[in-house]
Each structure stands twice: as C-alpha cells, then as structure tokens.
C-alpha cells in the first residue's frame, strides 16, 4: 500500500501534507495529555515495534508468506491517536532510511495508513467490543473486524488517490502524467487485492495477537495501564487548530483542482488566468525564449521530423554534458575546500 514517489502529482502530496499537519498536531496534544512525559519513549519504542512487525513473514494457506501491516493492532492496543504517531514514525523511517514508499508521497501514505487505517480499525473494534471484559470473545472478534475494515478502507483511499491522477493531471494530448489508471481501474484493483488477501490476513493476525494477549498479558488490552494515572488529564485548547483547519479547507480544493496543470507549472497564459496578469519578468523571459538562436531546437533548413529529432537530442545531450561538467567542477571545488579545512 506504500505509494512510491512519481505516482502522485506534487500538488496532491502537498494537499495531503496540509491535511495531515492538523491531524498530527492534535495527535501529539492528545497523547501528551494522556501519557504525560512517558509518551516519548512509548511512542518511540511503539514505532520501532510497528516497523519490526511489518517485517514479519506470516505463513498463508497457499504455502507462501505475506506481510501484515499491524496498524489495526496498534489502534487496538494504543488507541487511534497514539497509533497514528507510531505509524507515522515507522513510515518516516521506512521512507527516509530504507526507500520504501516515497519521500513526497509520505504525506499521502500517512493519510491512508496513519490516519484512515487506525481510526477505522479503532471505531470498528469499539463498535463490536463495546465495554466488554478484556477476556471476552467480542474483543478479538472486534479486533479481527477492525483489522480487516481498517486495511480495506485505507486501500480504498489509496485507490481513489491513484485513480484521480489521470483525471486531474495529463498533457494536452491526454497522456496521463502520473499514475495512468482511472478510478474505474485503480479502485477495483486495490480493493480486489485487499479484500481477498491482505484484509483477511490482517484480520487473522490482529485477532490472534489479541487472543494471545488475552491469554498471557491481559493488562495490555486495557489502555489505562499505560497511562500515568496519578495526574488528571489537562484540558487542551484547539482554537488555533480550528483556524488552521478552516484555512486548509478553503485552500485544499484550490490545490487539488488547479485547472489540470500541476502546481507551479503554469505557462504565461495560465498565469494570466490565475493572477489576472502576466508577471513582468515572466513576460520578458518568454519573449527571450522565442529569440533563441535555435528556435524550437531546429537548424535552419531542417524540416523533416528525423533531422529535427536528432537536433533535439544533440542539444539536450550538450545541455546534460554542461550540467555534468558543472557537477564535476563543483566536486573539485568541494575537494579544494576540504583540503583547505584539514
């Protein structure tokens, strides 16, 4: 379910980033209020736990193995807010240190796996288990359902995000710029795999771990044992956040639906539409461009498709050559500086 870089447009990633910032802020406040100073080590080691169990190979009936996400499990044992922080940290470590999942798409991955997944899992789990005894059957049944629905909903969201890309971002000729599958393909494809294999696996794993904890470590199933019960929880003020959320709600559609071109890629015409005028500098620059020594990268007298294609490629190679030379010169400069310092 990790969406790598390149599948989503930079705009989409920024929009999800804007959505995640308030969520993370609330999560930190809630968890800080619940666990006091002990939340730092618990979240840190909880994230390490989340990272570690994602590496467990679970045998599945066809004789092979598969990985479980474990997000539903964290939501059940830690509650959704704390699970959100742990999964976010685990995803950050995966993206930054192991290259699993993208760096820019980190925000979208967090939205699916750190926000949607634990909350859906937790709600379903609470709905079924209610206030039953920690040893009750309803607990592990709830955990199984929570694990299943959490993962499937997260997959549905990922499918929608991917499926929106070709609708929102494509070239003038209709070639999709990012993920090429429309909603009608992306959503069923994501749902199919997760309804049939990943979802049931997540359900079984979550239920079995909860059953294990019911038998051997029942205390860990009631959240109160983890908190610092000596001091009453402080009240949290959300006023600033409501303002931030309001701004995000107003801005998000602008970011997502900015006329089909990716953000920051406006040509002069689009700039005029967006701003009502063309910035002077841009007008001057676009004028300069048309007076380039080789307009449209073609040599005088070369009309045929192939000769202009060759010229294009030669010019481009020349440009890359210069850039590589610059990079080389920079590394020489850096080496000289290093020598001077030592």
């Amino acid at each position: 379910m990790h969406i790598p870089d390149g599948y989503l447009s930079p705009t989409t990633c920024l929009a999800f980033g804007a959505a995640m910032v308030p969520a993370w802020t609330v999560a930190v406040k809630k968890v800080k209020c619940w666990l006091r100073s002990s939340y730092v080590p618990l979240m840190a080691i909880g994230a390490a736990f989340s990272f570690t169990i994602m590496m467990y190979n679970v045998p599945i009936p066809d004789g092979t193995t598969a990985h479980a996400v474990g997000g539903g499990l964290l939501a059940v044992v830690l509650g959704p807010w704390a699970a959100m922080i742990c999964i976010t940290i685990a995803l950050a470590i995966q993206a930054l240190l192991f290259g699993d999942g993208g760096v820019w798409t980190f925000t979208a991955n967090c939205f699916n796996m750190a926000l949607v997944l634990p909350f859906v899992s937790y709600w379903v789990y609470r709905l079924i288990s209610g206030n039953s005894d920690p040893a009750a059957t309803r607990r592990w049944v709830g955990a199984a359902a929570g694990g299943f629905f959490g993962l499937v909903t997260a997959a549905l969201f990922a499918g929608v995000e991917l499926g929106l890309q070709p609708i929102l971002f494509h070239t003038a000729k209709g070639v999709p710029l990012y993920c090429p599958y429309p909603l009608a393909v992306a959503v069923p494809a994501m749902l199919f795999a997760h309804l049939l294999i990943a979802g049931p696996l997540e359900a079984v794993v979550t239920a079995l771990v909860v059953r294990y904890l019911q038998s051997y470590n029942r205390d860990l199933l009631s959240l109160r044992t983890l908190s610092d019960a000596t001091s009453p929880p402080a009240s949290i003020s959300y006023r600033k956040l409501w303002w931030a959320l309001g701004v995000v709600i107003v801005l998000a559609p602008l970011g997502l639906l900015a006329g089909g071109t990716a953000w920051g890629e406006w040509g002069a015409e689009e700039m005029r539409k967006l701003l009502g005028f063309i910035p002077a500098g841009m007008q001057r620059l676009s004028g300069t461009w048309s007076h380039a020594p080789l307009p449209d990268y073609s040599l005088p007298g070369s009309d045929s498709f192939w000769s202009s294609a060759i010229v294009y490629i030669l010019c481009a190679l020349l440009a890359v050559g210069i850039i590589c030379l610059l990079t080389y010169l920079f590394s020489r400069f850096q080496a000289a500086e290093r020598k001077e310092l030592s």
Partner: protein, 324 residues
Amino acid sequence: MKPPGFRPLADKQPIPIWLQEKTPFPMPRTAGGRSYRRGFIEKTLASIADVVKNEVFSDFLAGRQGLLQGLDPRVKLISILFLIGTAGLFHHILPLLLFNLWLFWLARSSQIPIKTFAKRVWIVVPLFTGILVFPALFNVVRPGTPLLVLFHFQHAVKLAYWDIPRELAITREGLTAAALLLLRVGASVSLAVLLTLTTRWNVLLKALSVLRIPSVFLTVLEMSYRYIFLLLQTTSDMFMARRSRLAERSNSREERRFVTSAMGTLWGKTTALSHEVHSAMLARGYTGSPRSLFRFEMRPSDWVWMVLVFIIALVFVGGDRVFG
C-alpha cells in the same frame, strides 16, 4: 542417563527413530547443495539481516569523500527533496531520461559504486512499477492511438462499464504514460537512494530539524531508530530459537499462531521497555522537553551547491517546457 528413544551408538544408528520416521526438515542451502523453498522463519531472518546489512553498508558509503557526502546534511536533504519535486514536474520522456543520466553522474561523483546504484534503482523500479503499468500499455485498459496491433477479436464486447474493443493493441498514449511513470519513479528512487547511501542515519534524522518538524517528533524518531535494532535482535532471537528446535516442518496454522504470539510477546516487551526507558530518562533529569546537542555548520560550497541545484533544475524543467 540417556534420553528415551535413543539407541546406543554401537547399533550404528545415532539418529533417534522418531526423527527418522518424520519428514526430514530441509537444512539451509550449502555450497553445491540443493536449494529449497524458504519458510517464514528464514524469510523473516533474512529481511532482518538485510536491514542490518543495509545500515552497515550505507554507513561505509557515507564515510567516503564524495560530492554528496561533503555537503551539509540539511542542504543535502533540502536539495534532494527539491530535486524529487522537480522530477514530478516533467511532461516529456527525453528530459526525464537526461535527468536520470545526470543522477548517475551524481552517484559517480559521490563515489557510490555504479553497479550498486543501478541494481538498487533500475532492477527494483522496472520490476514493481513495470508490472504495475504493463496493462496500461493496451487499449483495453486505456483507449488511444494504436501503435502495434497484437490481436483481432470477432466483435466488440461490453462488460458492465468496461468496453473491450475489436482489436488488442499497444497504444502510443499507453507507451508514453508507462515510460513517463517508470522514468519518474526511477528518478525519485535514485534521489532517495542517493540521500540514504551518503548520509549517516543519525545525522539524517537530525538534519530533519531544518524542515521545521517539531523537536518532539525528531526525538521520537531518533529513539525509535535506536530501538528498532533492539527489537529486530529480539525478533531474530525468537525466530532463531524456534528454528533450532524444529525437527520437522510444522503446519501453517501452527506457524501463524507462532508468528502472532511472537508479535504479542514483542508488544509486551515493548511496553515494559518503554516504562524502563522512561524511568531512566526521569532519573537523568528529563523534564518533558528534549534537547539536541548536535550542531551543523554551513560552508561556502553548501551555498554554491544550493544555487547550482536550483539552476540545474531550472534548465531541466525549462528544457522540458520547450517540448510543449
């Protein structure tokens, strides 16, 4: 006293009978031996070993005197993020291809073995992204201008909301979209690999402060990174202990029970450990707000690099826009 079921060595039968009667459990592959299908234990142990190997390897490369290693980690992080963003802006194949070429050059300048780099990027990306985009090449999934007709059907079929046309063809749009996605993902993965291979992980985590990430998240991230190796070691011990006690292949139901019990045990250890760590932190004067003792220093070359990266990105994206 001999354990029950053993016959004396004099009988030339050192292996207990019960063990002979059961299916022999295949041993790990040795030189010249037959390979076998790895079970869940071997797979988990292998992936844990990979994590550690990866860390040692990137630590080794991060110590070399290359271009990216010489940059201030904050500058490197920002420039790599900026370049991944740039990779998202391309509309055409050729500029994106050339951008990838430059990334190879950057890897070479950073003294990363080209073979390692190519293996990490250009074997992994086509394998996963390639399989994913493969159906998008055909007009069945995405209608477009046919480039190569593979198959003619008797007549067009309509399945619910899905129109299957009369001929199966690879389309120009499909091919372009697939190439664009492959090259874009390749460039992004290359940049992420360059970042991770040239930066020590603890330094990289500290460099994140430049993104204005609250220090709480950074402390949690750093601590988490440190405890990942402990939990991986614990897992490795649990799985190795089971592996060394196995005399025959167990059934998949029992194996699942073992894996989930291991998860449950690990969770118990996690909470116990976090309580201990918290007490240790309090004992050392932790008040709830973490502090970092790490300091970075900008050199002239870092400023030059930032300007250079900006110009290079501008040239590439400008070149891309020339195509329309």
